[in-house]
Symmetry: C2
Subunit: 194 residues, 2 copies
DNA sequence: TTACTTTATTCACATAGGTGAACGAAAGCC
DNA sequence: GGCTTTCGTTCACCTATGTGAATAAAGTAA
């Protein structure tokens, strides 16, 4: 189940890292473990790290003016997660990031991130590809939100990630789909009748 | 009104390009002009370029299973636009890109793009920052779509881009907001009563 | 100018998803 | 083991937005 950062980088670069590159990079990472319900990032504080999930799950969410939470992203093994705007611009975060189970993480601080970009040429490319993939996904998510109703989005989601409901509570899946838990219940009820 | 690519790059890099860098880069670009309603990218064909808008406006949109169009993005002067997934993976595009008025563009092909990444070190960084900003924006757009209703999204949009309705027809603004033209009409009517 | 097409408005009615409450089941805790 | 909190379901009712049609206004072409 554990995901290694070396494989993650090599897979995106479609190229192996040399031992020196990997060791140089490893020195810049800070391992940490957080418990279920602990927050890694809290809105109104600056998000000072990028996080790579080795094992476990996190979610990033936004608390709106009515105090409701909206899950923007899940971070499973092998994902990178952060409040990127807060990280790059040193402003207070708009998202919270919280563990959904005990999670082991590798964190890279902004100064170490910049060191990596400058000292390890491949790293700038790696990070470009990482963000590029994330951006493509988010464009498609916006597109699907426009063209599909909640039932279709739910079906597409569990098709793409069949174990999702085993790993995270249903009300967070509803939130990620942009609907209320009751509505997801209703949708599942309708589907089971078909 | 015209936007220059040199300024666009330097602004993102927060650093000036040398004359050599700029000239090397310029050689990789293909200028073109397209007329209103012409398509730059068509779904089901591969998108072979990244496009920088010098002057004019484009929009990218998706045609759904009911034949309805959903505007995903507007590309004004100074914006880059493409079907990035199609471009990077050489698969057929899911989005269309069409001019909303006569538009002048600089296009960079995939092979030239790769040449730029490899030959001009700053370019990899520039492109990383470009995508990073786009990704941050799209994350915030997803978040706002979850927490705000159409009226709030409309108000936020015209506040952020007050000339939008002068440049593009209202039904495209509605589409971008994820609602029907009639609904935007109704929202505007309610607002004018307040 | 006239004619034709595209865009915006308004209305009556339909529907997906939201709301708040009640209830039971499951999970964590002492 | 029982107690308490969290989670999922169901229901009756509500609301924002969609639908389809009619009409007007604006834009374009001849």
């Amino acid at each position: 189940m554990k995901s290694t950062i070396k494989e993650n980088i090599e897979e995106k670069l479609k190229q192996e890292l040399t031992i020196e590159e990997y060791e140089k990079f490893t020195l810049l990472l800070e391992p940490l473990t957080i418990q279920k319900k602990q927050q890694l990032v809290t809105e109104d504080r600056v998000c000072k790290y990028l996080y790579f999930v080795e094992e476990g799950v996190l979610h990033s969410f936004l608390t709106d003016d009515n105090g409701e939470n909206h899950t923007i992203q899940f971070g499973f093994e092998g994902h990178w997660i952060s409040d990127l705007y807060s990280f790059v611009s040193n402003t207070t975060a708009t998202f919270n990031i919280e563990a959904l189970e005990e999670t082991t993480i590798l964190a890279i601080s902004k100064s170490n991130f910049e060191k990596a970009l400058n000292d390890i040429p491949k790293f700038e490319r790696f990070f470009r590809i990482l963000i590029q993939n994330a951006y493509i996904q988010s464009q498609h998510r916006i597109a699907k939100n426009y063209s599909d109703d909640a039932e279709h989005r739910y079906l597409a989601l569990i098709k793409q990630q069949p174990d999702l409901l085993q790993r995270v509570p249903q009300y967070l899946v509803a939130s990620y789909l942009g609907i209320k838990p009751q509505s997801l219940s209703r949708i599942r009820q309708n589907l089971s009748k078909k």
